[in-house]
Structure formats: structure tokens, C-alpha cells
């Protein structure tokens, strides 16, 4: 489909006899927010692992900006502009908050020679990165904790930090794996607004795996229901919100039968 | 036939490595600790044997159970005195590895201070031997094989039939679940260490009768045994046996065709080949499924 920034074409992943992901095809438009929902074990995180290259495809293809990324090493896929967070914030415990964000940038100073020689461009770039990092931290209210160790943050703060770390790399697509888990209501609200800003203001494409249906229906442009490794249902939130298959997936067949 | 002698030597040293390898593998599979200090537990067993047999005059036979007891106690002390406190204070397997390294240095130094670096011998003169087709099979060769032939089936029986043995295998398979099921992991760790150390003690007796005792005798032997575990496949105990014999024969091949200096190189070369081409070892991968 034209304009699609990410395309999954008949993607499958087998583990022995088990088909964790079975013939999944989807197409994601740039700048949209797409949600992947479904019961536990449906294969949602596996899809993420396939897109990011952590798991190899058993069959099918994945295209980013029209070019196939299947088989590329994960770091190469990430470099093309694909960022990803994990269900667990997985922060760097021993590093300071601001260092997390700075580490996310792609900088000249990562080259050992540049680090030793410290030319004016390297120094300028590094300083600019630190300033950007502080600004990003400010936007989520973490600026005053910039020099604390990440392990001293609350769980919710760590969650936001892990997202900032990913955003620092300026990815074009951001994959967020269950970002609202463990967050209180205010933080969920903040996260929702952050996701919306990513898409509307920064023109990023967001792919979410989520269980929190309120968030999903609030924020998504498209929703895909994944059940048993296949897509059971796709559509806009308003269309599928009340769809019997959706209700069945989350509440079971009895409830689905109850709905007219 | 000269080849025959190398074969015999290879099988005998393979049996020694097997005793060490299986002990080490048991400990590693269940506790995930890279207990490289196994080397100085082994050496400690040899020194206890020497002390009891020669210095205290018990003689070669009566001293044997003391040697095994000594090694067992030493291994247990390391577990209880060093590894357990590390775990209790939040350390993980990396910290334990470093402490294990330190233990090697500590005990080798102690042995050197107590006994000097000279090799202590336990007997003089040639061993009684059969001569078969020009090759000599000594009583020690026979003893080593006999020990292995007896201990391994016993060990397997223990692991499969006894309650503790089954608990040990459960621990190797799934430590979190084992803990939840109320198994006392501390006690199991202690028992595992004792069994592994006892096997090392047995190996120490056999080797010291042949080559004597010196402070650094443990390291090469245990390193070779660890490579044997890798070769056989981590997680599969009989694989360690196979790896041990394979390496021993390879070493004898090197001695025969090159010279004895290459023994270490052969072991390291095998390690490198396996790590690069087949890190799961011969029997590793799905088949192993983490049996203790």
C-alpha cells in the first residue's frame, strides 16, 4: 500500500510445532498510531521481536519504507529508524538519568578516536546533546532528577525514561510494548499525551501493544486484534469497539453472546 | 605396540578427567556457579591424602577415606564460608566467580607455604602391571577405570531414584520452581558441593599415587575437565564423560605426534573449536534439556 512506512507481509514464526505468529499481514501509515491488542500469549510481543530483528522470520517479509528488513541484524534495523521499548523499563541501573538520554543519541563522540581527540565539532555536538536531553527530561518532569541514578526513580518515572531513551535516537517508528503497565492514572494520562505528541507534533509513527482498552480507543488511528498468532479483526476504534470478536477476546464467548 | 600404550594412558587419564568433569558439571548445572576453585579442592584432597598416608603414617589404603572426606569438607567450607555469604549479601554468579578465583590463589599459596612447591610423592618404584602385547597396563590404570565404572552408575542411580537426587535434577531444570516447591536450596547446594568435591577427592587419590602432589596440580586438570563438559554438552552429565575421554585421547595423540608440551594447546584448541562451531557441545541443544 502506498505511503505505508511499515508493512508486514504474511509474517510467520514457528517454534517447533507451535505457530506463535501465523500469516500476519499489516500495513502502517506514517504518522499514525496503531495498536496491537489481544489476549495474553496471542503473539503480540513476538511480532515486536520479529519487526526489530531479535527473532528471525520463519516466513514472510517485513518492509520498512519499502525496503525489506527481514534478516538484518537488530542494530541495523534500529539504525534505520525503528525504536522499541520493552514491557519492563529495563533502565540502566547504574547510570544517571541524563546519561540515559544522551546515550540514546547517535554522536560523533562514540568513535574512540573522536573521543580522544575531542575536536570542536565533537565537543559542540556532545554539549548540544546534553542540552537536548535536559529539554526532553523537562517535558516529562524529570529535569530536576537528571543527575540521580536511574535506579532511584519510581517505576513510572523509569518507564518514561526508557521511552525518552528511545526517542533520543529520533526514530521514525516507535514500538511501545505495554507502556501503561504499572502506571497510575495520572501517569497513564501523561503517557497518552506523550504518545499523541509523538505522532501529531513530531510526525512519528507509533505502534503500541496494549491491554488498557481505554488508552487504545482514545489514542489509536487503527486497531488490530491478534488472537492465537493471527489477526482476527482490524479497524478504527469506533468500528471495532463493540465488535463481538473483540468482546469475546477480552471477556470470553459468553459475554460476546450477550451483546446484541 | 606403541599406539596401544598411548591408548591405555589416554583411557586412564580420561577416567580422571571424567571424575572431575562430572563433579564440576553437577555443580554448574544445578547452581550455575562457575566453581573454578574445584581445582584447589582437588589439590586439597591430594594433600590430605599425602598428610594422612605419609606424614601421619596411615599408609596408602587407610588414608583414602580421609582424603575423600578432606576434599568433601573443603568443598563444603568454600560453599558455606564464601559462596553462601556472597549470595546472602546480594551477590550473583559473577561475584562468586571472582571469589572462586581468589580462592584458587589463596589455597595454592597455603599449600605452598605448608608443603613447599616440591612435588610430594607417595610411593616409589614401578607399579605392578600386566604386559599385554608390549603395552603395560598398571594396577593404577585398572584402579582408575574401576573407580569410574563403579561411581558413575551409582551416581546415576542416586540422581534418578533417591529423593535428594531427584530434587537436584529439579533444581537443574528449573531453579525458581524448585524453590517454590519448598525445596531447601541451601541444603541442596551443600550436598551438591559435597558430592562434586568427593569425586574430586577420589581423582586426587589416583593421580597423586601416580604423579605425586604439588600446589598447582589442580588447575590444568580441572580446566581440561571443564572443557570436557563443554565438549560433551553443558547440562548433560554423560556428555561430560564422553568429553573427558575424547580430550584425554586427543592429548595422547598430541604427545605421540608432536610433543608433550602441546597437551595444553590441544585442550584449548578443542575449546575454541567447540565454542565457535558448536558451543552446545556434542549432546547439547534440545536433547540435553538440562539434566543434572
Amino acid at each position: 500500500m502506498a505511503g505505508a512506512i511499515l508493512e508486514l507481509r504474511d509474517v510467520s514464526r514457528h517454534f517447533g510445532g507451535l505457530k506463535a505468529v501465523n500469516g500476519v499481514s499489516l500495513s502502517i501509515e506514517e504518522g499514525t498510531i496503531t495498536s496491537l491488542v489481544g489476549p495474553n500469549g496471542a503473539g503480540k510481543t513476538t511480532v515486536f521481536n520479529l519487526i526489530t530483528g531479535i527473532l528471525p522470520l520463519s516466513s514472510g517479509d517485513i518492509r520498512f519504507d519499502g525496503r525489506s528488513i527481514a534478516g538484518l541484524p537488530p542494530y541495523a534495523i534500529a539504525r534505520r529508524g525503528l525504536g522499541r521499548t520493552f514491557q519492563d523499563p529495563r533502565i540502566f541501573y547504574e547510570m544517571s538519568v541524563i546519561d540515559h538520554v544522551v546515550a540514546g543519541f547517535s554522536l560523533r563522540g562514540e568513535n574512540p578516536l573522536a573521543a580522544i581527540l575531542r575536536g570542536p565539532r565533537m565537543r559542540h555536538e556532545t554539549r548540544a546533546a546534553r542540552d537536548s536531553a535536559l529539554r526532553m527530561l523537562d517535558e516529562v518532569g524529570l529535569r530536576r532528577r537528571a543527575h540521580e541514578k536511574a535506579q532511584d526513580l519510581s517505576f513510572g518515572e523509569q518507564r518514561f525514561l526508557s521511552i525518552l531513551r528511545t526517542l533520543a535516537g529520533d526514530p521514525r517508528i516507535v514500538l511501545l510494548d505495554e507502556p501503561t503497565v504499572g502506571l497510575d492514572r495520572d501517569s497513564v494520562h501523561d503517557l497518552t499525551r506523550l504518545v499523541q505528541r509523538m505522532a501529531r507534533e513530531q510526525k512519528k509513527t507509533v505502534l503500541l501493544v496494549e491491554h488498557n482498552l481505554d488508552v487504545i480507543f482514545d489514542v489509536s488511528d487503527q486497531v488490530h486484534l491478534l488472537v492465537g498468532g493471527s489477526i482476527a479483526l482490524s479497524g478504527e476504534p469506533s468500528e471495532i469497539k463493540r465488535h463481538p470478536r473483540m468482546i469475546e477476546a477480552y471477556l470470553g464467548a459468553r459475554y460476546a453472546a450477550l451483546r446484541p | 605396540m606403541i599406539l596401544g600404550q598411548y591408548l591405555i594412558n589416554g583411557i586412564a587419564s580420561g577416567a580422571i578427567y571424567a571424575l572431575l568433569a562430572v563433579g564440576f558439571a553437577m555443580i554448574y548445572n544445578t547452581t550455575k556457579m562457575l566453581h573454578i576453585a574445584h581445582a584447589v579442592v582437588y589439590t586439597g584432597g591430594a594433600y590430605v591424602y599425602y598428610t594422612c598416608a605419609i606424614l601421619l603414617g596411615m599408609g596408602l589404603w587407610f588414608a583414602m577415606p580421609f582424603a575423600i572426606a578432606g576434599a568433601t569438607l573443603l568443598g563444603l567450607s568454600i560453599e558455606v564460608g564464601i559462596y553462601r555469604p556472597i549470595r546472602r549479601l546480594g551477590g550473583g554468579t559473577n561475584s562468586i566467580l571472582i571469589a572462586s578465583l581468589g580462592t584458587i590463589s589463596l589455597l595454592q599459596g597455603v599449600y605452598a607455604v605448608l608443603f613447599t612447591t616440591d612435588t610430594r610423592t607417595l610411593r616409589q618404584g614401578p607399579l605392578p602391571a600386566f604386559i599385554v602385547g608390549g603395552d603395560s597396563i598398571t594396577s593404577l590404570h585398572v584402579a582408575v577405570l574401576a573407580v569410574v565404572a563403579v561411581t558413575f552408575p551409582l551416581l546415576q542411580l542416586f540422581l534418578r531414584r533417591s529423593r535428594i537426587g531427584i530434587a537436584i535434577r529439579a533444581l537443574a531444570d528449573n531453579p525458581a520452581l524448585a524453590e517454590v516447591h519448598g525445596m531447601d536450596t541451601r541444603r541442596l547446594y551443600a550436598i551438591i558441593m559435597m558430592i562434586g568435591s568427593a569425586l574430586a577427592g577420589a581423582a586426587a587419590i589416583l593421580v597423586s599415587l601416580d604423579l605425586g602432589v604439588k600446589p598447582d596440580m589442580g588447575f590444568d586438570a580441572v580446566f581440561t575437565s571443564v572443557v570436557a563438559v563443554v565438549v560433551g554438552g553443558v547440562g548433560y552429565l554423560p556428555g561430560a564423560l564422553l568429553g573427558a575421554f575424547m580430550l584425554a585421547l586427543l592429548q595422547q595423540l598430541a604427545v605421540w605426534q608432536l610433543n608433550s608440551a602441546w597437551q595444553n594447546g590441544v585442550v584449548f584448541g578443542t575449546l575454541v573449536i567447540f565454542l565457535i562451531l558448536r558451543p552446545q557441545g556434542v549432546f547439547g541443544g534440545r536433547m540435553a534439556s538440562r539434566r543434572a
Partner: protein, 289 residues
């Protein structure tokens, strides 16, 4: 007084060894027990280039760093991919085998007899003859190494290494080529270790394989641990304490051949005690788990 000056030079050499090991362990999370191999290669390259090929200081300087770097790349690229325990095993094997080759390849290394007659440092006509002059050179080299280390770790390069140490998968997801970075860190540390080998060769005027075995690795780890990881101050404190303590004992009367073994006991004991009670060392910024 000469004795004390020589001791200080030795401490500086150890500081280089510990600081380079720290780059691997404390910053990148690479548990290398192979440091002795790189130090030994550096020392032997130095000794051979000087005694057999009669090359000058510049060539020797280069050689002592390039040879271990080449080894680090050759060995590092395949082994760094391995999971932790296997990598540890591989590096222990590396130390063993290097010591073995140095001992047995008699044609090149003169085997267990070692290499004698290493001349003084000769730089642009200046000869470094007295222990005091050698100490001056050594301090300068050590300072340069520490400076380079500081520049590396305070730059984004250092941040990426720490990220790798903390969580490799996440760092990959950040678009970093983790495998390459680890190989680079390994090679840089190897080059630094080789430099300490060069200084060792010039310092002792004579080297043999027993200088570069697992005992050296254990010493370096003990010094690293006592001083503390990820800390330049720690890198300096560790060797100072580990060398100073036995010297103090010697002062109060401990004599003879037992001293070497008492050192082994001391280093091993310190390593054990530090891992149990104070894994971050005296001045460390990172605690090994």
C-alpha cells in the same frame, strides 16, 4: 632508595594493567581473565624487537601495542559473541595457552629461559639509565594511559560502553553496534596491556613466561576489586595497597621464599573478602553483581 624507586615504577605498571582491565570489566562488563596474555605478548614483542631485531624505541612502542591489539581482534571477535561463562572460560584458556606457547616455542621465545639483555630505553639520543629516570618515563606513560582512559569514558563512547554493560539487548535496540563496540574496547584494553608489557620488559631487563600467567590475572583482578571498578582513583589505590601491604610485611620481618606465597594468599584472601563484604571496592563506582 633505588629499591623504593623500582617499587614505584612497578606500581605504575600495575596501575596501567588495572586501568585497562577496568575499561573491560568496570565499563563494558567484559569479564576478561586473559589480560596476562596481552601483557605477555607486549613484553615479548618488545624484548624480541630489541634483542633480535635491534629496533628503536618508536618501533618497539608501536609493536608492543599493535601485537596485542591484533591478538585481541583475532580472539575477541569470535569469543565476545559467547555468553558470559563461555567467554570467561575462553579467556582463561587464552592466558593458559599463551603462557604455554611462550614456554614451549623455544625457537622464538627462548622457552623457559626467557629473554635476557633488554637494553635501556633510548629516545632521540637520551638514554634512560637510572631507576629514577625510568620512574619518570613510567609515570609519564601511566599518566597518558589514564588520561586516554578518562577521555574515552567521559565521552559518548564511554556512555555506550556502560549501556552495553547494563543491558546489551536494549543497547542494540538503540541502534548501537554492540559487537563492534565490545571488540573495540577489547582491542584498546589489549593495546594498553601491551604497553605495560613493554614497560615490564624495560624495567626488569629480563622476561620469562612465568611472569605472564594466571597469577598475574589474579593480581590484576584483586587490585581492581580492592580499588573499585569504574574509578581511576580506584585503579591507582588498588595496586598501591596490594604492593604496599606485602612490602610493609617484609619490613616487619617476613622473609624468604615464603613471601611470594604469602602474597598469593593475601591477594586471594583480599579478593574473597572484597567480593563478600565490599564488592564496590574502596573507591569504585560500579558494583559487580
Amino acid at each position: 632508595m633505588d629499591y623504593f624507586v623500582n617499587l614505584l615504577s612497578q606500581v605504575c605498571i600495575y596501575v596501567i594493567q588495572v586501568a585497562t582491565l577496568d575499561l573491560l570489566v568496570g565499563y563494558t562488563g567484559i569479564f576478561s581473565f586473559g589480560h596476562a596474555a596481552f601483557i605477555g605478548i607486549g613484553a615479548y614483542t618488545t624484548a624480541l624487537l630489541l634483542t633480535k631485531l635491534h629496533l628503536g624505541f618508536g618501533a618497539v612502542l608501536l609493536g608492543s601495542m599493535l601485537a596485542p591489539m591484533a591478538l585481541a581482534f583475532a580472539v575477541g571477535l569470535p569469543t565476545l559473541r559467547l555468553s558470559g561463562d563461555y567467554f570467561v572460560l575462553g579467556t582463561i584458556g587464552l592466558t593458559n595457552v599463551t603462557a604455554s606457547i611462550l614456554t614451549n616455542w623455544v625457537a622464538v621465545t627462548n622457552g623457559p629461559f626467557g629473554i635476557y639483555g633488554i637494553p635501556d630505553i633510548s629516545l632521540f639520543g637520551w638514554k634512560v639509565v637510572t631507576p629514577g629516570q625510568f620512574l619518570a618515563v613510567t609515570i609519564v606513560v601511566t599518566a597518558v594511559v589514564l588520561l586516554v582512559k578518562h577521555l574515552l569514558i567521559s565521552a559518548p563512547f564511554g556512555l555506550t560502553l556502560q549501556a552495553i554493560r547494563e543491558d546489551e539487548t536494549v543497547t542494540v535496540m538503540m541502534g548501537k553496534n554492540v559487537a563492534r563496540m565490545r571488540a573495540i574496547a577489547f582491542a584498546i584494553a589489549g593495546a594498553g596491556a601491551g604497553l605495560s608489557g613493554l614497560l615490564t620488559a624495560y624495567n626488569l631487563r629480563f622476561i620469562d613466561p612465568t611472569l605472564f600467567d594466571l597469577q598475574l590475572v589474579i593480581f590484576a583482578w584483586a587490585a581492581l576489586f580492592v580499588g573499585g571498578c569504574a574509578s581511576i582513583v580506584g585503579n591507582i589505590l588498588g595496586p598501591l595497597i596490594l604492593v604496599g601491604f606485602p612490602e610493609a610485611l617484609r619490613f616487619i620481618g617476613l622473609q624468604g621464599g615464603a613471601v611470594a606465597h604469602v602474597r598469593e594468599i593475601l591477594y586471594g584472601g583480599l579478593l574473597i573478602v572484597m567480593t563478600i563484604f565490599r564488592p564496590q571496592g574502596i573507591a569504585g563506582n560500579y558494583r559487580i553483581r
